[in-house]
């Protein structure tokens, strides 16, 4: 026998270790479940980490109200299949409670609002740690994250004062009211995620694969046409064969033209691609530090 793990097995073993540490060190952790591929992988890893028992975490979905119906259907089927508890935190509710002010203007979205709804949901459910599918390779502020990432009592990240994180001795101690964000797949790249999907044969929302859809071309971006999208004068309505590279709020998840209909074809396509994963997310366009700014406010 060859006593060596290949890179995917090593990443898997690391992520499972982190998930089990989270279970052991916190009272009431949740998995931030968006219906996107990264949170699907994290949920899959959690199922493996605690097999043959159930996943000991609640899934928390922060719902902007602008969902792809496909995502919701997928989410509900997964919850049913894995027999996990699901909690949905609605941005609409925060708007009704006036803790969130809906953005106005042609580029309004509910992305920043999500942070507030997330913090409110964590508080009302007593979650002291939120496990996310964030990866360091996604974005330059994420590249700075610890596995166990501390948040103060207001949910804020302080990137200039992160504590040390040595070997895999994760220090999850905190004061009352503080919380942690946990990133088990920190060291995975987008390609690693897809290679793992292939190896594990993980089910995904149909949105990730090529399909015919009425879209809006807006500058460089392709967005799904929907009732939630605030029309711009320069928008061009087109019918395209597209797929999504990341899935989130319908109004900001950019699509790409593609004919990839299987995970293997997606991998082949990615290897040829020269564009970042989040390169077409409207939420990251706002400024060069929009991710860092949002994370400081409590974003995932």
């Amino acid at each position: 026998m060859n006593y060596r793990l290949n890179y995917l097995e090593e990443l898997e073993a690391e992520a499972v270790f982190v998930l089990r540490e989270t279970f052991a060190q916190f009272q009431n952790p949740c998995i931030l479940f968006s219906g996107g591929k990264d949170s699907i992988v994290v949920t899959h890893l959690a199922a493996k980490a605690f097999a043959p028992g159930p996943i000991p975490f609640t899934l928390l979905h922060i719902d902007t109200g602008h969902n792809f119906p496909e995502t919701i259907q997928f989410r509900d089927e997964l919850v049913e299949r894995l027999n996990v508890r699901l909690v949905v935190g609605k941005v609409e509710d925060s708007i009704k409670d006036h803790t969130v002010q809906e953005e106005l203007g042609p580029n309004a979205n509910r992305n920043r609002a999500q942070s507030i709804t997330l913090l409110e949901s964590m508080e009302s459910n007593g979650f002291d740690a939120a496990i996310g599918g964030g990866r360091r390779d996604e974005e330059k502020a994420r590249a700075k994250e610890r596995f166990f990432s501390h948040r103060d009592a207001f949910g804020q990240w302080d990137p200039k004062n992160q504590g040390p994180e040595i070997w895999h001795l994760y220090n999850g101690r905190k004061n009352q009211g503080e919380q942690f964000r946990i990133f088990p797949i920190s060291n995975w790249t987008e390609l690693d995620v897809w290679e793992y999907m292939l190896k594990e044969n993980i089910a995904l929302p149909s949105l990730y694969f090529t399909h015919d859809r009425p879209c809006v071309r807006r500058k460089e971006s392709i967005l799904a046409q929907s009732a939630y999208l605030i029309p711009h004068e320069s928008d061009k309505l087109v019918d395209l064969n597209i797929r999504f590279r990341t899935i989130g709020d319908m109004t900001i998840s950019g699509a790409m033209e593609s004919t990839a209909s299987t995970v293997a074809e997606i991998i082949a396509e990615l290897k040829e691609m020269n564009q970042s994963e989040r390169g077409n997310r409207a939420d990251d366009f706002r400024s060069e530090s929009s991710m860092e700014d949002r994370k400081k406010e409590g974003y995932f």
Binding site: E9, A13, F17, R20, K140, P159
Partner: protein, 417 residues
């Protein structure tokens, strides 16, 4: 040869402005591993700063404050792959103030790239970081003498630095040291061989990284299994399953093996091993598994499973090298939490044996206080027994952190020797 892709983790180290971030940017850029939109953004920012060339350090220096100050504050992780390897890069800061972040990045590394500015030579931070790398037992050091473009690619300048580095590294326990003259800015000897440095016959940095051997770095001899948590399942098709979840830190285990549980010395046998893809006959480090035993024992988080004929040492006090990591002061007499593997125990620093002077690397035995960033040998008194190996034999069971119970901050990291 059919080969499976492995992972090499490496870190950068060295003094402020020696070019660590620029080097990582150069490496990724020349390997064509940076997406075009990121290049465009960095190009735009560089132009705005009035630079004619692209500022390669911006690919890792991603925080607002880092970009404003032109320094690295915290570790940035970047990734790239070649045919045979996935690389995990930790680009760490050179500033003394952020040593804790350098240690964070270096602690999981198989290799460290130490940068030295060819004009400045070996300085205190070079020594400190090399010393930390040796304490952490990083197997491979690649010393890159950088900014060769600013010393006319001079062979003498390079050789002088090599020799002064060797003078002090002779005192360090590092297995493999290599030297490469480079210019991160111009790209000499990073991915492409330099034409201007024709007197250098050795490999480029990328070639060196691709060929480092990391196969023997996992200890497959001494079985150590710290329990993360007990597992109890009794529902549906699974009846009365009791197991212990954890990661094998070292060694190999098979179904039927005799094991003992520490503390307590209770013996049992492995009944089953649950792996990532169901039951398996054997398992090895660093796999995450769950172990079921033939006997019902009282086992909880922090206990460690080992083999009867190969046990760690039980201690209630120990001597260790520690690096002070917190900006908060160490308070003599205060009890700290010593966290090691998945276990915690209260600890008191009984005495400071010596503190290293980073200029001379000499031991100062007169010091009675510990300051942030100090590296010292201390003796610790523990509230209960722990089971340890020497760090050089076993990283996981030979290392710990000290946590301040009041602030929850990590005060220090320690290596047992």
């Amino acid at each position: 040869m059919a080969q499976t892709k492995d992972i090499l983790r490496f870190t950068t180290a060295g003094s402020v402005d020696d070019g660590k971030s620029t080097l990582i940017g150069r490496l990724l850029y020349d390997c064509k591993q940076i997406p075009q939109d990121q290049i465009d953004t960095v190009q735009r920012i560089s132009e705005r700063k009035g630079l004619t060339d692209i500022d390669l350090s911006l690919f890792t220096d991603g925080l607002k404050d880092e970009r404003a100050q032109g320094i690295t504050i915290d570790v940035a992780y970047r990734y790239f792959t070649t045919e045979n390897r996935k690389f995990i890069i930790a680009d760490t800061p050179g500033h003394l103030q952020y040593t804790r972040n350098m240690v964070t990045g270096a602690s999981t590394a198989n290799a460290a790239i130490i940068l030295i500015d060819a004009r400045k030579g070996v300085v205190e931070q070079t020594r400190r970081h090399s010393f930390i790398a040796s304490l952490l037992q990083i197997q491979h050091l690649i010393v890159c003498v950088n900014k060769m473009d600013l010393v006319n690619y001079s062979k003498e300048a390079f050789e002088q630095i090599v020799s002064s580095f060797q003078d002090f590294s002779a005192k360090l326990a590092i297995v493999d040291v290599q030297f490469i003259p480079i210019s991160a800015l111009q790209g000499d000897n990073v991915v492409h061989r330099s034409e201007k440095i024709d007197w250098y016959q050795g490999a480029t940095l990328l070639h060196t990284l691709e060929n480092l051997s990391v196969a023997n770095e996992i200890n497959l001899i001494d079985f150590r299994f710290p329990v993360q948590h007990p597992v109890r399942v009794d529902q549906g098709s699974v009846q009365d399953y009791r197991a212990y979840a954890g990661r094998i830190e070292s060694g190999i285990v098979r179904v039927g093996d005799e094991v003992i549980v520490l503390p307590g010395n209770q013996g049992s046998k492995i009944k089953s091993i649950m792996g990532m893809n169901g039951p398996q006959e054997e398992a090895f480090a660093p796999q995450s598994i769950s172990l079921e035993l033939t006997d019902e024992l009282d086992i909880s988080r922090g206990n460690i499973l080992v083999k009867p004929n190969n046990q760690p040492e039980e201690v209630r006090q120990l001597s260790a090298m520690i690096c002070l990591m917190s900006s908060q002061a160490y308070i003599p007499g205060r009890k700290y939490i010593l966290r090691y593997t998945t276990n915690e125990v209260k600890a008191l620093i009984k005495s400071i044996l010596y503190v290293y002077d980073m200029e001379s690397l000499k031991r100062d035995e007169e010091q009675t206080a510990l300051q942030t960033n100090d590296i010292a040998r201390v003796s610790l008194q523990l509230a209960g027994p722990i089971y340890i190996d020497e760090y050089c034999k076993n990283k996981a069971t030979g290392s710990f952190i000290l946590i301040d119970e009041q602030s929850n901050q990590t005060l220090a990291v320690g290596m047992i020797s």
